[in-house]
Amino acid sequence: MSFNTPLDLRYAESHEWVRVEGDEVVVGITDYAQDALGDIVYVELPAVGATFNAGDVFGVIESVKASSDLYAPVSGEVTAVNTDLEDDQAPINSDPYGAGWILRMKSSGEESALLDAAAYEKHVAEQQH
């Protein structure tokens, strides 16, 4: 199965993506992750102003199959969360890299240490077997 893995993003092994926008980063879950989880029915978002270290659990995402933790791909303070997802989680499935974004954080510069698209695709291929 092939998944959309945009070249301009960075990826965490825990299947979150990161897009740098000025001095902030936007975070969501990957196309592979939304497909593996199935239809998302609930997202628990952190408060704006909360700070996380890379690898910390920042929220919970629930699909019809399972409930999973969301991990901060980089360290930093949350500057915005996608509150639209509280009422309608469908964009995470239909548009994971666009309207399905989950939160914005202040950039800590750590995103360069994350996987690039090719490395993430390789990581996904290994997970499927």
Binding site: D39, V64, K65, Q128
Partner: protein, 491 residues
């Protein structure tokens, strides 16, 4: 084909009733206003007695149960519950005993509890047993409370972390969180065991203990169990055993001998007391002599003159439940253990493991195993059928309903993509297991040749595929005529 049964509200017609009240033969008196119901009774269903009986009987006939067919729900041990258990539980001395009845009038019931405590201790290699917890998750909660109390009692106040493998039942981390402790996840290795290097990294002077299921949720025997227990003990922690999978090892190996300090027994899995809605459950717990003083009380003890009496351990964490556990379940479990005997219980586990491996070896050419190893009482396969790209485990599970089988556990453990967790138990015959294998092979063929059959399934159930996404996103949790009408219109 069976058809959809409307909610009882929609069977109502005004003026019908099911009870005949005799004519008034005394002066009429009104109830005080504050005792009158104030809320609106409009829409309350009005039916005759036979209409009510038929409605609920029709619904009850749609229950799929172990008395109607094979129920290979992994990790749940849906084995046949012998009817002898029911006969014993209905004996008036047990069924009509009052929980507050004096000890001297309850000697038979107390003796049964005493003997069950002793039998469970022997089967598991522990020193003490409490029959109080109402279900497995409450047994876990009891165990972790006891661990916490044990550490505090030694003056060791820094232990706040509970280690849980990534394949664990969800109740394990939930238990630790309920006790107010921090959950630390431990990775699994390629053979499905606890990853020893990761375990070592995560053990510390803050470790309360490790919660482990053996066989684990991949249906595999933990190959390094003795080493795992030794490492946890060296770090000053304790090892909790989730007894969900105890059906695989009865009479073969004792959890106490493997290094566990405390475990729960799911009497409703391993020891044939009814499950779930037909329950209640029972999550009796056993432990080492070191932890026995912390068990919830009361337990049943035998006095010097041979009487049975309740005692509460000196440092007991307190009661976990009113009265004496789900006593009717204790009668059923006692009956099962005594009718099987030690040799019979060993045979139970041997047959359960043989049945699961038979299914594994008959299906693993089309459903890839999660880990390619001899399994214990259940096998975890993946619903990834070669050449069937649009088909997922959920579709396979739904199609099994059309073949007359209850689906296995799906999408658990979480670390296995498209997991199908199959536990046949020892009470299915070879003919029935062969029929299940044939159904699974037919479904795999259909998945490639006629995938629409799977995507439309179930077609032979009272309702078609339910919209689980909509049910989760827009739940309607109580009957509401307007909402129901809107939902129907939108379809």
């Amino acid at each position: 084909m069976d058809t959809y049964e409307p909610p009882i509200f929609e069977l109502s017609s005004p003026g019908k009733y099911g009870a005949n009240v005799p004519d008034l033969d005394v002066p009429r008196a009104e109830l005080p206003d504050d005792l009158l119901r104030q809320d609106d009774l409009a829409g309350f269903p009005e039916l005759s007695e036979p209409e009510v009986i038929r409605h609920y009987t029709r619904i009850s006939q749609r229950n799929f149960s172990i008395d109607t067919g094979m129920y290979p729900l992994g990790s749940c041990t849906m084995k046949y519950n012998p009817k002898l258990n029911e006969e014993a539980a209905r004996m008036p001395g047990f069924a009509q005993a009052h929980p507050l009845q004096a000890e001297e009038l309850s000697q038979g019931a107390l003796r049964l509890m005493y003997e069950l405590q002793a039998d469970l201790a022997t089967i598991s290699g522990f020193d003490a047993v409490s029959l109080q917890p109402a279900a497995g998750a409450q047994g876990e909660f009891t165990g972790i409370l006891a661990f916490h109390a044990y550490h505090l009692d030694r003056g060791d106040t820094d232990r706040v972390e509970v280690l849980v493998p990534d394949a664990a039942h969800g109740t394990n981390p939930a238990t630790a969180a309920m006790v107010g402790l921090k959950v630390i996840e431990v990775a699994s290795d390629e053979r499905g065991n606890v990853d020893l290097a990761d375990l070592k990294r995560k053990l510390s002077p803050r470790t309360v203990g490790l919660m482990l299921t053996n066989p684990n949720t991949l249906g595999l025997f933990e190959e390094h169990i003795v080493e795992v227990a030794r490492l946890v003990h060296e770090a000053g922690g304790l090892v909790y055993g989730d007894g969900a999978n105890f059906n695989a090892i009865l009479g073969i190996v004792q959890p106490g001998a493997m290094g566990f300090d405390f475990m729960h027994y799911n009497l409703h899995k391993t020891f044939t007391t009814p499950h779930g809605g037909g329950g209640p459950g029972s999550g009796a717990v056993g432990c080492t002599a070191e932890l026995a003083p912390f068990l919830p009380g009361p337990l049943v003890n035998r006095t010097a003159d041979g009487d049975y009496a309740f005692i509460t351990p000196e440092k007991s964490i307190g009661r976990m439940k009113a009265f004496h556990g789900n006593f009717g379940m204790l009668v059923r479990a006692w009956t099962y253990i005594r009718s099987m005997g030690a040799a019979g219980l060993r045979k139970v586990s041997e047959t359960a493991v043989l049945n699961a491996n038979y299914i594994r070896t008959q299906l693993d050419d089309i459903y890839p195993p999660a880990v390619d190893r001899i399994c214990m009482h259940e096998t975890v396969l993946k619903g990834q059928i070669a050449g069937a790209t649009g088909i997922r485990t959920l579709d396979i599970a739904k199609r099994l309903i059309d073949y007359g089988f209850h689906p296995p556990t799906v999408y658990f453990p979480l670390i296995v993509p498209e997991a199908l967790m199959i536990e046949p138990t020892e009470t299915e015959s070879k003919q029935m297991i062969d029929a299940f294998i044939q159904a699974m092979r037919s479904i795999a063929r259909e998945a490639v040749e006629q995938p629409e059959l799977l995507l439309a399934a179930p077609t032979k159930a009272p309702v078609r595929r339910l919209d689980e996404v909509r049910a989760a996103r827009q739940p309607v949790l109580r009957y509401d005529a307007d909402k129901f009408a809107k939902l129907r219109d939108s379809e």
